[in-house]
């Protein structure tokens, strides 16, 4: 008979979960040059990333975080905080969820969204730094917008669902599961639904 197997997670992930690196202690973020937050508690995942920047070199010297979420969410932010130290702002901005997952030794499919939130929070922190330092021209907008944080449904997903036949909020939910957890995105989703119906079908 076999003994208890390992967790569904890699050893690296487990190590970061057991001994998370660079947790922001206390509540004060005043010492940091950029602060970014993504996700929300209702959806079960929220991450905050704070960075210190060497202004002469445009490099990240310190990165700390807080995370509300499952083991892979905690480990993703922990490993991300290690990855960005010493990188230039531009290089850090382009870290992809895939790289975070790779660094963790892989993530189960249904946990990929955890690593997506971490690098989004990092980009928000970098944008926040640019804004604070009069470099608004460098602020980069997200190309896709996540509408439903809980199920990670973007405006593109909603557009696709409309193109595939969803005409009511209910039908949209059936296709995408959008708004099926906390429901906070209902109003925004309904506006998008009407918008895409109008654009594509003149309705």
């Amino acid at each position: 008979m076999l003994q208890a197997g390992e967790w569904a997670y890699s050893e690296t992930l487990k190590e970061h979960f057991m001994n998370p690196k660079n947790i922001l202690q206390g509540e004060n973020t005043d010492d940091f040059d950029g602060v970014g937050m993504e996700g929300n508690l209702q959806c079960g995942d929220q991450m905050m990333v704070v960075i210190k920047v060497d202004k002469a070199k445009d490099t990240i010297t310190d990165c700390q975080w807080k995370t509300y979420g499952c083991a892979s969410a905690i480990a993703s932010t922990s490993v991300l905080s290690e990855m960005v130290k010493g990188r230039t702002l531009d290089a850090a901005f382009h870290i992809s969820p895939k790289e975070v997952a790779q660094e963790l030794g892989g993530l189960p499919d249904h946990k990929i969204h955890c690593s997506v939130l971490g690098d989004k929070a990092l980009r928000a922190a970098i944008n926040n730094y640019y804004t604070r330092n009069g470099q608004e021209d460098k602020v980069k907008q997200e190309l896709v917008k996540v509408v439903c944080q809980c199920m990670n449904i973007t405006d593109h997903d909603i557009e696709d669902a409309v193109l595939e036949g969803a005409r009511t909020y209910f039908e949209l939910q059936e296709r995408t599961k959008c708004g099926t957890v906390c429901g906070q995105c209902k109003e925004e989703t309904e506006v998008l639904l009407e918008k895409f119906k109008h654009i594509h079908f003149g309705a």
Binding site: W7, F17, M18, P20, I23, L24, Q25, E27, N28, T29, M37, L41, Q42, C43, G44, D45, Q46, M47, M48, W65, K66, T67, Y68, G69, C70, A71, S72, A73, I74, P108, H110, K111, H113, C150, M151, N152, T180, V181, C182
Partner: protein, 397 residues
């Protein structure tokens, strides 16, 4: 220290069950065979049937051995898509009523039936997980064929008043099913007192083996098998009997009859110690489920600002096994449908843990849990965004 607080998921074999099954391993005959090997197996299966029937106040011919509680529940609900004259006339009474807090094996079967033309209505529950009898009364009419309400909820332990519900259901002319998987062996269950037409039991929740359960079908009630192609179980469930499992199940219910009365009070005391300990040692928590009409073994707690899977895995590292109905651990992103139905908000539902105790749970184990848990919660809250400056729960600290 290794401690097991997940008895609602499954239980270890009772030592007596283990003994019985080890002895029974020599028995390999097919109960359908006419020779001595077969007759030995047949005798044991029928003896087991009598014991299970006796345990819930049923007659022997009202017990069908099945492969699991899920199979029993699937069988009952599926009676309603069959239009054979032997079956419940689905054409006339084509509505099923169930609740929002059933086990997925009921909810997903109901959803599937809905796609096949059966009308399904879901009863709401109050903040404690009790169904609304007024809503049930308003939904009952000539079109309703079956009502299925679980007796004890697996996540929060809330018990429903099945006797009253059954009376209402029968007055409207519909049949009544209860999924009693979490109730049988923990609280007294007598099918005649309850009056139900169908009742589901599972062996592995009461220190019996996995892969065997029983479905009670009241004599004279229309029935149609889910698994066909054999005369086993009087043609009601095809497939060679799981003789060893059935043997174990019978021994398990026998031991329940002996141990249950004393045990409920003991578990009730342990639950009070656990609840009080958590309330005293950890801030920002809430207890889910009914304060009194609830299983003595089950305590469900929501911890503000922490996510359930993180609690589960940190406790696992300390040798403590618990369960979360929440999101991440179960592989979906949805928080517990049971907690959401009771009106618990999504954030708290994400941070909920079910502690379920059993016959071998000791006060020392509860104390060990109470020792470890506050530290784990503190550790997770220290890294949670919920408690940062300006965060949702910052002011409460």
């Amino acid at each position: 220290m290794k401690v097991y607080f997940d008895h609602n998921a499954t239980t270890p074999l009772h030592p007596e069950v283990k003994k019985e099954m080890i002895a029974g391993m020599e028995m390999f005959g097919n109960p359908s065979s006419m020779h001595a090997y077969g007759r030995e197996a047949r005798a044991n299966v029928e003896h087991a049937r009598a014991q299970v029937a006796n345990f819930i106040g049923a007659k022997e011919n009202e017990i069908i051995f099945v492969g699991s509680g899920s199979e029993a529940n699937n069988t009952v609900l599926s009676l309603f898509v069959c239009s054979s004259s032997q079956c419940i006339p689905g054409s006339r009474r084509s509505t099923i009523i169930t609740t929002k807090i059933e086990h997925p094996c009921v909810l997903e079967t109901a959803e599937c039936l809905a796609h096949r033309g059966v009308k399904v209505k879901y009863l709401a529950v109050d903040r404690y997980g009790k169904i609304d009898l007024d809503q049930l009364a308003s939904l009952l009419n000539d079109n309703v064929g079956l009502v299925s309400v679980m007796m004890a909820n697996n996540e929060i332990g809330t018990l429903q008043d099945i006797e009253t519900i059954t009376k209402m259901v029968h007055e409207s002319g519909a049949y009544m099913h209860t999924d009693a998987v979490q109730a049988v062996g923990k609280v007294p269950v007598d099918v005649r007192e309850l009056g139900v037409d169908f009742l589901t039991i599972s062996a592995h929740k009461i220190y019996g083996p996995k892969g065997v359960g029983a479905l009670f079908v009241k004599q004279g009630i229309p029935y149609c098998p889910l698994i066909r192609g054999g005369h086993q179980e009087r043609g009601r469930r095809a497939g060679t009997e799981n003789t060893l499992g059935i043997l174990g199940m019978a021994r398990a219910v026998e031991m329940r009859m002996v141990e249950m009365p004393e045990e409920e009070e003991r578990l009730h005391t342990l639950k009070q110690v656990l609840q009080k300990g958590i309330e005293e040692r950890i801030d920002d928590i809430s207890i889910n489920g009914h304060p009194t009409d609830s299983l003595a073994s089950t305590l469900n707690v929501s911890f503000t600002g922490v996510e359930g899977e993180a609690i589960l895995l940190y406790l696992d590292l300390e040798g403590i096994a618990v369960s979360t109905g929440s999101a991440c651990a179960s592989g979906s992103l949805d928080p517990s449908h049971v907690l959401l139905a009771t009106g618990v908000d999504a954030e708290l539902a994400h941070g909920s843990i079910r502690f379920s105790m059993g016959r071998e749970t000791t006060l020392q184990e509860v104390e060990y849990l109470l020792d470890v848990l506050p530290r784990v919660i503190k550790q997770i809250r220290n890294m949670s965004t919920a408690y940062i400056k300006g965060g949702l729960h910052a002011t409460s600290r």
